[in-house]
């Protein structure tokens, strides 16, 4: 059957490579092993193996989840110019963006499973089998949109690749409908995740209307930064041609999104620190420490410096278009926003607790192992999917004609 053949050809192409490729896979498999061991430990002994407690009940897992939803949403920064503005240079690489979206959503699901106390009861949320408290619970909205986004990307991506594989023409109506839906949907996944956090007045750090805006702009700077880095890797190690214009378009997008993000940070800091009420304690703890506790202060300033440096490098066209400097700026940006979303947003929301108790948190080794492991799984999925997609795009993965 053609579909099975497609699957086999796709995977065999994706898993074949040079020495460096196998070293990379081996490197990732170490993290996958960490993930397996860590999760078995966590499932058997319970979440007591993490450093979470009743005061700081959301930690490293939720931070990674929130960040990765943003990375998943970033596929739209390629899809939108490519299809809505018909920007040709990006059209060829849309598929890479979709593969990244799939891998990021897979990572999100892994982090949610690590965060839950009872993953064996996940079926409780499936409507029909269990109870899905939609539309009241924001988490059900998040589950719905994330799974929908995964489905959309799988459909769009694999339909496109399958058609290219067999050489048949695509049903444009079918395909473009799903593409347009996925463009809107991409905005919604990160907006809903933002609503998950910002609709809780219990957490004054999160209870702002700028949160969805901040989430979207940081998503559209961190995600595409990763895409740019993967483009450089693809350029170096595969035959796929990625035009400079494609890279420049994306780097322009991330520049302006980063600029808006920094502006929103400024806005938040001024709004909170000018009157300095009890509701600003989380931000003050984050920026300056409080009561002799300053576990997150270093993280905040480092991420701010990294973001500003990245912005300076990106806003200047000379450095932005210099492909020796651009990857460095992208790494700074990616790391800076990861720290900002995790340590400088999710964690301070939990400190102090709603009744004023300050408790510091730093993840345990199991949490770090599980998080690195989930990233390992995600990167493996992305590597395989991207390689297969490149093969299809290059025409090297093709249905043998005459069958």
């Amino acid at each position: 059957m053609k579909q099975i053949r497609f699957g086999i050809d796709f995977l065999t192409y994706a898993l074949k490579g040079g020495g460096k490729f196998y070293v990379w896979l081996l490197f990732l498999s170490f993290f996958i092993m960490l993930w397996v061991i860590g999760n078995i430990t966590q499932i058997t002994q319970g979440m007591i193996v993490t450093n979470l407690n009743d005061q700081v009940s959301w930690g490293l897992y939720m931070s990674n989840f929130v960040f990765l939803v943003g990375v998943a949403a970033a596929a739209v920064t390629i899809v939108f110019p490519a299809y809505v503005y018909n920007y040709k240079p990006l059209k060829d690489v849309v598929i890479i963006g979709e593969m990244l979206a799939i891998s990021a959503v897979v990572m999100c699901i892994l982090f949610v499973l690590s965060h839950m106390g009872r993953p064996d009861r996940l079926w409780h949320i499936v409507p029909g089998l269990g109870i899905m408290n939609w539309p009241n619970s924001m988490l059900t909205w998040d589950v719905a949109v994330l799974n929908g986004y995964l489905a959309l990307n799988v459909i769009c991506g694999f339909y496109y690749m399958y058609k290219k594989y067999t050489g048949e023409p695509m049903n444009k109506t079918f395909y473009m409908t799903f593409v347009y839906i996925s463009i809107v949907w991409a905005f919604s996944i990160h907006t809903v995740t933002a609503f998950l956090l910002n609709t809780m007045p219990t957490r004054p750090m999160w209870f702002h209307s700028i949160v969805p805006i901040k989430f979207i702009v940081t998503a559209f700077s961190a995600g595409p930064a990763f895409i740019i880095l993967s483009f450089f890797v693809i350029r170096k190690h595969t035959k796929l041609e990625i035009k400079d214009e494609a890279i420049n378009m994306i780097s322009t997008i991330i520049t302006f999104c980063l600029g808006i993000s920094l502006f929103l940070t400024l806005s938040e800091v001024v709004t909170e620190l000018y009157p300095s009420t009890e509701h600003s304690f989380s931000l003050k703890y984050l920026m300056f420490g409080k009561h002799g506790l300053h576990g997150l202060v270093g993280w905040f300033w480092v991420s701010l410096v990294m973001n500003i440096m990245a912005f300076i490098l990106l806003i200047n066209p000379t450095t932005r278009k210099n492909y020796n400097i651009l990857p460095f700026a992208c790494v700074l940006l990616f790391a800076g926003i990861w720290i900002e979303k995790g340590m400088a947003f999710v964690l301070p929301g939990m400190i102090p607790s709603p009744i004023g108790e300050f408790v510091e948190y730093s993840p345990s080794w199991i949490e770090i192992g599980n998080s690195l492991g989930a990233w390992g799984v995600g990167l493996t999925v992305f590597t395989i999917l991207a390689r297969g997609a490149i093969g299809v795009q290059l025409g090297e993965v093709k249905y043998p004609s005459g069958n």
């Binding site: 499932i43 009872r118 009861r121």
Partner: protein, 347 residues
């Protein structure tokens, strides 16, 4: 032709999803087996318990079955005759609570009485479990009253001699009246201390509970007698409710609960103090096992100064109604519109 291919593609996708579903179910079963733990009695947790419905949707027969299953399991595990009550809300009852902060002396007997009654996990030397306490008493320091005349014109941005006046007085920097943040870990020799008052907090059983709204599986909900309950067998441990509760009332079983047999209270209720399992949320439920049988809660009974009052808000002769009628009553974080049924008052 393309439609046929789409259908074929769709079919294979459907098959794939079906296979994935079976694999997923297998994974859940595996995870369930791992999560159940190595304890023999707990390992006997039946398939039926893993796949039982949400309590509210059970028929009376299913509830009875669940009750008997649990009674057998707990009786074996704790080596005493355990009863699991399934009493529904009493008609015409809406529970209310009033706490007299004029009287509270911060002795924390309520905290520990609650633990004696409600089968929470106890401290485990190996660090696998902490003692879960549903009530938290906060010490509010009255602050220093050593006002000095020479500091009267000190402040920010200027100090003595500045012409334009002070924007922030010097006493903004030293706690006066009451210190902003309360203390949780006070342990003086005697209470009440002269320079402090005390503020106990537990679940306020809100009429518009934020925790209920955010629960993705509706495991926590407000029962007809006003108590916000949790179906422990339905909770998935996502801790959204813990993020949303403004009173920090909810606790999580991070590890396998450590409940020694001698400390176990055998008179339990399905929604109340029956022993919980790893990975689920728990909180104060106004001692359902007692209050639905007409008895006061454990915290009410132990309070040595009679600061805690409980009763039926719909009964005009109840203590709580009389307090609402005569005393100055306020709610904590009233601006959040959670409409708690836990009132604080002063004499």
């Amino acid at each position: 032709m393309s439609n046929k291919q789409n259908r074929e593609k769709g079919k294979s996708r459907r098959d794939f999803l079906k296979d994935a579903g079976v694999a997923g179910a297998g994974a859940f079963a595996g995870a369930a087996a791992l999560l159940t733990g190595s304890d023999e009695a707990e390992a006997k947790t039946t398939w039926a318990e893993h796949f039982q419905k949400n309590y509210r949707l059970m028929t009376d027969a299913e509830k009875q079955e669940a009750k008997e299953r649990l009674e057998t399991r707990y009786s074996e595990e704790y080596e005493k005759k355990v009863e699991v009550g399934i009493e529904p809300a009493m008609p015409g009852v809406l529970f209310g609570y009033a706490l007299n902060i004029q009287k509270c002396i911060g002795c924390r007997r309520c905290v520990h009485a609650c633990v004696k009654e409600n089968n929470q996990s106890r401290h485990d030397e190996n660090g696998n479990a902490t003692e879960i306490q549903w009530i938290r008493v906060i010490r509010m320091e009255k602050g220093n009253f050593a006002f000095k005349n020479e500091n009267m014109d000190e402040g920010y941005p200027g100090s003595k001699g500045e012409e334009y006046g002070i924007q922030v007085g010097g006493n903004a920097h030293t706690p006066v009246g009451t210190v902003l943040e309360g203390q949780h870990y006070y342990e003086p020799q005697r209470v009440p201390e002269k320079d402090a008052f005390y503020f106990p907090i537990q679940c306020h059983q809100c009429e518009k509970p934020p925790c209920v709204k955010v629960c993705p599986v509706r495991t926590t909900y407000r029962d007809p007698d006003g108590v916000v309950v949790i179906d422990y067998n339905w909770c998935i441990g996502c801790r959204m409710c813990m993020g949303a509760c403004p009173y920090w009332a909810r606790r999580f079983n991070w590890g396998k609960p450590n409940l020694p047999k001698e400390d176990m209270n055998p008179r339990t209720h399905y929604m109340g103090n029956r022993p919980r399992m790893k990975g689920v949320v728990e909180k104060c439920h106004f001692c359902l096992q007692r209050s639905r049988k007409g008895r006061y809660t454990a915290c009410i009974e132990v309070c040595p100064v009679g600061a805690r009052k409980f009763g039926n808000l719909l009964d005009k002769n109840s203590e709580v109604r009389k307090i609402l009628d005569r005393k100055r009553v306020f709610r904590l974080k009233a601006e959040l519109n959670t409409y708690p049924k836990f009132f604080y008052f002063v004499d």
